[in-house]
């Protein structure tokens, strides 16, 4: 059941938190504006900070369908917009032949009808009825090449696509578009210009604890506090890839599964693979370094609780 769009920034934040997404004020503002102004939302940030999640949560909270277009190198119109069902078309031609009714115009009309059209995500997103515009997630746009980006320009500004054999299909109501990028290359300014841009950063400690509380309610609060302090300390240090929120949540789950109620050097060493995904980073942290950080955050937490 589609729900109406939120009317204020506070309502947007509340809406997101009903689906356990804890957004800061900046992100809530941008999401609110994107919904209100009907502009695509362009989210950039490190992997695992919750960019894709925003789209999923929006779809869930607004009761809309989520249509996802995962980008990859060489993504083309056939995979993104539409494709004709060639084998069915061939059979149709053969059947017409067998029946001896080979009228050129009629055959052309029959073959290129909607019956033989395979709809891909972008086309699906344009077809929803009024009032129930879906959430269109264009994920990891940086993975595709410039050619596809240029094609998107047209779709995102007019919300219509042209199929030469059928004509132009325009959306009754533009979908809610969320574009994400890991910034493995710079996306062209022309595309960004049409969107509302937001850089999704790592959350601060307080918000990260709130996120764990919302997403992993089963984990003890003390453990959550230690985990967050540890991860925040890691992000300040020199790692090739700092852990994102997704890794934090994974780590909490892993520790919970191991029945840990508090961090100790041994457990940290055993589960580092959940948090860090590069061998160099793991080697750097294993043993004494992990213990040093652990001692430091325990001292900090101790000092805080005394206050």
């Amino acid at each position: 059941m589609p729900k109406p769009l939120p009317a204020s920034i506070d309502a947007t934040a509340a809406l997101l938190s009903t689906e356990n997404y804890i957004a800061d004020r900046a992100l809530s503002t941008v999401v609110f504006l994107a919904l209100k102004m009907g502009r695509p939302l362009f989210l950039e940030g490190e992997a695992g900070v919750g960019k894709t999640e925003i789209a999923k949560v929006l779809a869930q909270a607004l009761g809309r369908r989520l249509i996802r277009l995962q980008c990859y190198e060489g993504l083309d119109v056939n995979a993104a917009v539409y494709e004709w069902n060639y084998s069915a078309q061939m059979i149709e031609i053969r059947l017409a032949e067998a029946a001896g009714e080979l009228d050129r115009d009629r055959l052309g009309h029959d073959i290129f009808s909607e019956r033989f059209l395979t709809k891909r995500p972008l086309l699906q997103a344009l077809e929803a009825p009024k009032g129930a515009a879906p959430v269109l997630l264009i994920d990891e746009l940086d993975r595709t090449d410039e050619a596809f980006e240029a094609f998107l320009l047209e779709v995102l500004s007019d919300f219509q696509v042209t199929i030469p054999e059928l004509g132009t299909i325009a959306a009754e109501e533009p979908p809610i578009v969320v574009i994400t990028s890991n910034r493995t290359r710079e996306v062209h300014d022309a595309l960004k210009r049409r969107c509302l841009y937001h850089w999704v950063g790592y959350p601060d400690a307080e918000r990260e604890i709130a996120i764990i509380k919302a997403r992993r309610p089963e984990a003890p609060a003390a453990l959550a506090r230690e985990v967050v302090s540890f991860v925040q300390a890691l992000r300040k240090g020199e790692l090739y890839k700092a852990p994102g929120v997704a890794e934090t949540l994974d780590w909490v789950s892993a520790l919970h599964e191991l029945d840990a109620i508090s961090l100790d050097p041994q457990t940290v060493n055993d589960t580092l693979g959940v948090l860090l995904k590069y061998q160099d980073d793991i080697v750097r942290l294993e043993g004494s370094e992990a213990k040093r950080i652990l001692d430091q955050i325990k001292a900090e937490i101790g000092a805080m609780s005394r206050v």
Partner: protein, 404 residues
């Protein structure tokens, strides 16, 4: 805030947009209209909401946040902000090391606003305007050197163009996942086949074919500009400028004691203009070399952004590192893992009897695909010849390791 922005607010937003534009943000009239729409969307209750609303509209890259932030806080603070900024500027002249002014982007912003003050309120303190420019520019702690490039002669330019046209070694193309119509391609292009057969009324099905598209991969050039390499840097930059205008997706980084991305500067069409831009962007000409730490900076900050889609790396350095070799080795290993192909161009080889003895060189050798010596560095033609010759035994890094 009221539902629709009153005349004043709209005007202020417009002025704010102009300040941003002067400070270097690409802000057009479309953005101003967007900003008005956004402000009209209502429900803006606090200053913070207003901040993020304008941020969403005006900022299109992460790097722009800094300038926006400063501009916002100065512009929307008090009505007399211009005068205040002005005062700040004059304090600068007497006390150059003010903490606030060192923040990134502030200078551009100050310049943008300063000009306004001059024209709008016709202040009388004009003489100061010329002096302050100098006080800002020497901010770094190292001893930095600037370099002047001689202008390129017409012959040189022609030579460069010719040399690059002959350059085949980096014309290596890689297969993409896209297809193009091709009469004897391997795959059947069903879409064109069906369209074609309908043209014949469906009687004949004539197979149309397609093949994979090939494309040059992105090229990343890492060029050493330390003292030991300084003799050839001018020529090499000219070469790079030619290369940049010749193909797409080229990024160029210079390193000595620090790493500078000069891709944007090199994109100027005119070679002398480009050189002037480069020489003002780079601050460590002919200094020492820290190859290891420069590579590390590249790996951490840039590799994930420029080494995509099968990028090739062209490394131009003599390999004489004054620092810890283990850092150099681990960073080379990392570079190896993210680049498809690494070609090393070494100018040391112009000396007869070069052997791969130096620790830095031995550390780098195992991680490269091709080792290109440059025997003479007198002209672009020689440089291009070195890069263009087909791969021979002397280009195999293993040979050099054995010999050393």
């Amino acid at each position: 805030m009221t539902q629709s922005p009153s005349g004043k607010l709209a005007l202020n937003i417009m002025h704010f947009a102009r300040v941003l534009r002067e400070a270097g943000l690409p802000v057009g009239p479309g953005h101003v209209i967007d900003a008005l729409d956004a402000a009209q969307a209502g429900a803006l209750r606090s200053r913070e909401d207003f901040y993020w609303t304008l941020h969403a509209v005006f900022v299109k890259r992460r790097e722009q946040t800094e300038v926006f932030d400063q501009a916002f806080h100065v512009f929307w603070k008090k009505p007399k902000m211009l005068e205040q900024l002005m005062q700040l500027m004059f304090q600068q002249i007497t006390r150059p090391a003010d903490e606030k002014a060192k923040k990134a982007g502030f200078r551009r912003l100050a310049e943008a606003m300063f000009e306004k003050v001059e024209t709008q309120s016709r202040r009388e303190e004009k003489p100061g305007a010329l002096d302050f420019d100098a006080t800002f520019s020497h901010s770094a702690m190292e001893v930095l050197r600037k370099k002047d490039f001689e202008q390129m002669t017409v012959t040189e330019q022609a030579q460069a163009r010719q040399a690059i046209a002959r350059l085949r070694v980096h014309r290596l193309e890689i297969r993409t996942r896209r297809f193009r119509p091709y009469h004897s391609g391997e795959r059947v292009d069903l879409r064109r086949t069906l369209k074609g057969s309908l043209r014949a009324g469906g009687h004949l099905i004539d197979l149309a074919r397609r093949e994979r598209q090939w494309r040059e991969p992105p090229l990343v050039v890492l060029c050493d500009i330390s003292g030991s390499c300084s003799n050839y840097s001018r020529m090499f930059l000219h070469f790079l400028h030619g290369l940049m205008n010749d193909r797409e997706r080229v990024s160029v980084f210079l390193f000595g004691t620090r790493l500078t991305n000069i891709s944007r500067e090199l994109k100027r069409r005119d070679v002398d203009e480009a050189m002037a831009k480069v020489s003002s962007a780079v601050q460590d000409w002919s200094g020492g070399t820290r190859i290891g730490s420069a590579l590390k900076e590249f790996n951490y900050k840039w590799a994930r952004r420029v080494l995509t889609q099968g990028a090739h790396v062209l490394l131009m350095t003599d390999g004489l590192d004054r620092e810890d070799v283990s850092l150099l080795e681990s960073e080379m290993a990392r570079l190896r893992r993210s680049a498809r192909r690494i070609v090393w161009l070494n100018p040391l080889l112009r000396y007869q009897g070069f052997e791969a003895r130096a620790a830095g060189i031995r550390a780098m050798m195992p991680y490269i695909d091709e080792f290109r010596p440059v025997h003479s560095l007198e002209s672009l033609a020689d440089l291009a010849a070195a890069l263009a010759s087909p791969k021979r035994a002397e280009h195999d890094p293993k040979q050099w390791l054995k010999a050393g």
